[in-house]
């Protein structure tokens, strides 16, 4: 079973991957704006960015609790 730091590391990597996918959706709309890229960037891109943010915040909170700060 993965230890706490390892689990934290994996979820941060996952947050990074999700974030990059979300940002790529935004970049696609900047390069070529059409109804499809617009909707994808605003909805799916936004969802991925929000998800990565949530993963990151969850990691920070988990780390703070583990250290007994929270």
């Amino acid at each position: 079973m993965a230890s706490n730091p390892q689990r934290m590391s994996k979820s941060l990597v996952a947050a990074g991957v999700v974030n990059i996918i979300g940002i790529l959706f935004l970049a696609a709309a900047i390069f070529n704006l059409n109804p499809v890229t617009l909707i994808l960037s605003v909805t799916i891109g936004g969802l991925f960015i929000f998800l990565s943010l949530a993963l990151y915040v969850a990691n920070v909170l988990y780390e703070l609790r583990r250290r007994g700060i929270l």
Partner: protein, 229 residues
Amino acid sequence: MGTPTFVGLVMALAAVNAELAEYDPGLSLIKNVTLFICIITILLVGYKTLLRHKTLAHPTTKWVLFIAFLILSPLAYFLNLGIAVQESKPVSFCNSCHPMEVYVEDLLNPDSELLAALHYQYRWISDHQCYTCHSDYGIFGSAQAKIAGIRHFWSYYIAGYETPIKIRGTYNNARCLHCHAPVKNYQEIPEHESNKEAIKASKMSCIGAECHVSPHPKPEERRGAKDGV
């Protein structure tokens, strides 16, 4: 990323920028800034979480990720949202979808005497002609127009739509009155005065009867009538 790919990306961006800068230099600048933020975010997040993930516990990495996740990413999203809202207003964007082609074709037809074509060709509306006449004024008008845009996207790509396409609900005369009501020529027409309340409440259309010609070609007059658009 190889050099040819990078050069290709830069050239594509330069082409997009040249077109956009002519149209709106301010928007072009925001677009560049947003793209820069996107690239920086990808580089920072990619480097720290994928390439150097063993240093995640390092304080510098924590600060970098804090900035990338909590500041740069949301900033890029909201800047992109602003660009998307602004760039979805031109006639060319409306013309991206097939059902709009016959309407835009008439708009560009110099022989057309229909209302929308006259507004477009004489530049009675300087730009964003489709958007101006099909969205209400004020902040809620823009929000409603964007919600309508999402509904159009859904119908066009997923749910399907009935042909010939028709405007949803009743056309809001306030869109016409916003420009025309304060004009002396408009106020001098007796019918405008006698039907003032009905026109204002959109209970009486400006189009048809003995009043004004249709804004767009009727279904049977459209070039794409056979296609049912």
